[in-house]
């Protein structure tokens, strides 16, 4: 009679593959017999000699393919994610003066009053945007999130500008 395994009885047997490699359930008597122990010792010796014969396991074609693809992925990640300079601070200007220079590393909503009314700005852990503005054009709101040092959003009618500052700005001024 075959006893159901505790693990397999708790879960559905997927057995997607490697079924043929399933270790046969050996009987207890077999396992604790004297011959079983000698066989074990022999198997360990065999394993050691096999390891000496093939110190490095051979990679299959697909393995090389996987490694190559992974390497490309890593390089791509470095190129895309480390290329742009991260911004650490936000400078808000209102009219001719600097209203505030704030850390970007926070969640905060600001309400500023300009010539046209109230503008709402939201800082959200590393990014910032105009959330609401009293102007008709809404260009500033449509700019969306700013994330990289050097990015600028301006609300001309309400005379409020946002600029992201970083250690290394990729340019001194923006031509638009």
């Amino acid at each position: 009679m075959r006893r159901r395994s505790f693990f397999s009885s708790l879960s559905s047997r997927s057995g997607l593959f490697a079924r043929r490699h399933l270790i046969r359930v050996r009987s207890l008597r077999q396992r604790f017999s004297r011959s079983a122990f000698t066989r074990r010792a022999a198997s360990m010796r065999a394993a050691l000699s096999a390891a000496r014969a093939h110190p490095f396991p051979r990679l299959l074609a697909g393995d090389w393919l996987t490694l190559l693809a992974s390497l490309l992925l890593v390089l791509l990640l470095f190129q895309t994610l480390w290329q742009s300079q991260g911004a650490s601070k936000l400078r808000i200007r209102q009219g001719d003066t600097v209203y505030a220079t704030l850390s970007l590393d926070q969640k905060r909503t600001l309400h500023l009053h300009g010539p046209q009314g109230e503008t709402e700005i939201i800082i959200d852990h590393g990014r910032v945007r105009f959330l609401r503005a009293p102007c008709n054009s809404q260009y500033c709101v449509h700019q969306g999130w700013l994330t990289r040092a050097g990015q600028v959003a301006i609300c001309l009618p309400n005379q409020i500008s946002l600029e992201l500052l970083g250690k290394r700005k990729s340019y001194d001024s923006l031509n638009y």
Binding site: D96, L156, G166, K167, Y171
Partner: protein, 346 residues
């Protein structure tokens, strides 16, 4: 692993960074209906502040005199007189400006035309804010048919008159560039050696930023942030005309402030044109003026128009976002987006 550790600590430093910088003084103000930014490098703060304030004050004065829709401005008074067919008195410096604008208009084959104030008003761009207007084809056609041209103006010692009452002056594509040239002269006189002046995106460089030249980003016409950067050497100016600065949208169509004087309608086949102008007394002016006719011209005409404007450095982004650069411009641009595909303009 050590390499990784070093890279990581570098990243952390970059993230934490942004402290003690070089001696930079920055002044910002809203003039010409746009943001003006003056950055001065390497001068004592008091001197820098005084120089920047003087320049901003000059801008403010110029803006008030050349304002196209404030009824009491010098230009508005002149426009009313021209519409009545009268001969009007004009200040000497304004007369010089109008002469220069006429020459540039002629060079651009009329594609730069400061006499079409009537059309600009019709399209609603003579306002502080742009809201969709009801398009009136009959009125637009009438304004085009009236054919206001700078050559209709007759400027003689202290007075001005027009053969064509439809001439309505709007120096919107000229004043900011002129202001750049004036700012450069003023800053030099004030003993400033290194500065960068930005009027609503048009930039002129004086000296450099420490050991390196001033670096200017070129705005991506459809994304926040720059698409390329360019080193702006001493005396060089850069200007962009884009359909993304002043426009309104109506029924899914974008109508920008750059109006084709031939059709009377906003040009819709271009997203942005950037020109780079070498040092000279007119560098700022040309950086403002020269991009407009190239923006309005058809793709086939662009090279010819650029040559007529004596501009070698041109970058065009067309309606599909495709980028065209002149050979000279290609050598100056650093694309931030490395996969950028560009085609040769001329």
């Amino acid at each position: 692993m050590r390499w990784l550790a070093r890279q990581l600590s570098l990243t952390v430093l970059l993230l934490l960074g942004a402290c003690a910088g070089p001696p930079l003084y920055q002044a910002q103000s809203y003039v010409f209906g746009t943001l003006v930014d003056i950055t001065i490098y390497g001068a004592p703060e008091a001197q820098a502040r005084a120089a920047a304030d003087a320049v901003l004050k000059d801008f403010q004065t110029l803006h008030q005199r050349l304002h196209a829709w404030q009824p009491d401005s010098e230009l508005s008074q002149l426009n009313r007189a021209l519409a009545r067919g009268e001969t009007a008195p004009v200040e000497a410096d304004l007369a010089d400006m109008l002469k220069e604008a006429s020459q540039l208009s002629a060079r651009a084959g009329g594609l730069f035309n400061p006499a079409i104030g009537g059309l600009i008003r019709q399209w609603g761009f003579q306002r502080d804010e742009y809201t969709p207007v009801d398009i009136d084809p009959v009125r637009v056609d009438a304004l085009v048919a009236a054919a206001p041209r700078m050559s209709d103006l007759h400027i003689e010692s202290g007075s001005i008159r027009s053969d064509n009452p439809a001439v309505q002056l709007d120096l919107g594509g000229y004043a900011k560039g002129l202001a750049l040239d004036r700012a450069l002269r003023q800053l030099r006189q004030a003993g400033i050696q290194h500065a960068l002046v930005n009027i609503g995106g048009n930039v002129i460089a004086l000296g450099q930023h420490g050991e390196r030249p001033w670096n200017v980003g070129i705005q991506h016409p459809r994304q926040p942030g720059a698409m390329a950067t360019v080193a702006l050497q001493d005396g060089w100016a850069i200007g962009t005309s884009g359909d993304y600065q002043r426009y309104f949208e109506l029924d899914g169509q974008r109508y920008c402030h750059l109006i084709d004087p031939r059709s009377g309608y906003p040009a819709q086949h271009t997203q942005a044109v950037t020109v780079l102008i070498p040092p000279g007394p007119q560098a700022g002016t040309l950086s403002d003026v020269a991009s407009k006719p190239i923006f309005i011209a058809t793709q086939q005409q662009r090279a010819q128009v650029a040559q007529a404007m004596q501009v070698q450095h041109v970058l065009v982004v067309d309606e599909h976002g495709q980028r065209f650069v002149s050979r000279a411009m290609a050598a100056r641009l650093n694309w931030l987006d490395k996969h950028a595909k560009t085609q040769l303009l001329f």
